[in-house]
Symmetry: C2
Subunit: 280 residues, 2 copies
Amino acid sequence: VSSRFLFINNQFLPQEEGVLSVTDLSIHRGYAIFDYFRTVHQQPLFLDNYLDRFYASAAHMRLPVPFNRPQLKEVIQLLMQKNNIVHSGIRMTLTGGYSPDGYGLVEPNFILTQQPLQLPSKEAVQKGIKLITYEHQRQLPHVKTTDYLMAIWLQQKVKEKGADDVLYQQGGVVTECPRANFFLITKDDVLVTPAAHILKGITRAKLLALAKQYLKVEERTVTITDFQTAKEAFICSTTKAVLPVVQIDETTINKGVPGPLTLQLYHAFTALEKQYTTAV
Amino acid sequence: VSSRFLFINNQFLPQEEGVLSVTDLSIHRGYAIFDYFRTVHQQPLFLDNYLDRFYASAAHMRLPVPFNRPQLKEVIQLLMQKNNIVHSGIRMTLTGGYSPDGYGLVEPNFILTQQPLQLPSKEAVQKGIKLITYEHQRQLPHVKTTDYLMAIWLQQKVKEKGADDVLYQQGGVVTECPRANFFLITKDDVLVTPAAHILKGITRAKLLALAKQYLKVEERTVTITDFQTAKEAFICSTTKAVLPVVQIDETTINKGVPGPLTLQLYHAFTALEKQYTTAV
């Protein structure tokens, strides 16, 4: 662990030396954006999609990125070479900077970190997960900010309920999990996922494209009453790929086991990932 | 500046050495609370009220404070002695800690910082300020978290409109400014201020107590249509005390000058402050 490096602003440093002054607006005012992608056999997965989103988040939050895309890709490559981790997650963070008055935006701080990362095991996929719902709408949901205040706070509730994660809803309209997108398969075998007020995941986009090849797909309003009649449910994210949902609050989905279409999508995504990381 | 100190976890350090590892949950997930009080002639103003709120915020966010109240007061006194600033603002920050998995709460980091601080000048008070409204409801509004994502982001809009600050409303119901509470004086000389979905300011509580001695006071729902008939308006906060509002969006208040009852409250608060800081 002590030999791992990070990159901060303009230099590579041993990870334990990666610090920010307490005047940084991320600490002072919660003002920062980030993005997070996987590397598989030392190859970044769907990197351009993640960079698109990172630059879009930065632009929306008025944070100039100190590197253009080729420069950023080069820094990522150098960090990967230094750390030499087979399967990893790489996080790019951009903060509001060292604000003299603790409020106004100044030159951002940029941080690149890398950790070993494995997808959930086959056992975890075969078991599925349990969600609880909670009434909350993330602010600026389309931007990948570091605002996980509610998510961190809700961890205790999730634990108390014996659940694995939380699914946000507002007035019965379902949006997303704190770090994952949500999908249902209806009784008519239509794959549905919330269309609005969410962060549009890269894995979500890849799955929608895959699913369209053999399923009817709808991005639309999903409500908590849709749980009752759903044949299957799952969440997806960069760190989880496809993870079946077998219970939401008191509603058991597909008799408590992962559904066949969910598992088909899981395998389709795994195949896509393999194809992508050998082709690059 | 270089001789100023801060306190972090268990030691006093020159302020420029005050850093957190980038694994801290405040940087990683925007998870932290804080509070902020003034010192006047080296005496903390209404300290117990601020400590009440700080401990309440910490408890709500499941962040154990590493010091009990007498210990915390002692650290504050020591920092004040070291820095020797006549009029200052002191900030207590408590973060989610250095989380190994970047998500779960661990032992918090505690930071105490002090900066010189003066209230707005008499000229600023006599001029008054202009607000714009914006549709937003803060999450966990009763807790003093570091979530100022929307506030920082809105600064550019405030500037573009030639305004001084933003006033949040949701569906026409007014709540608060990002760092201040909002008050109106109605045509019938009633002092009104939003009752719910706000952070209950210490200055707000002091002003309500003062105003009740000579005005009718109501904590109730305030809507944007109330601006039309309001005789006066002002905001209050720790750093601003009482600051008259002379315009909200396109509505001019009291012909664009601070109202007499507002100025009376400003003077009453100034007198209370004087009384408190000489009596302590």
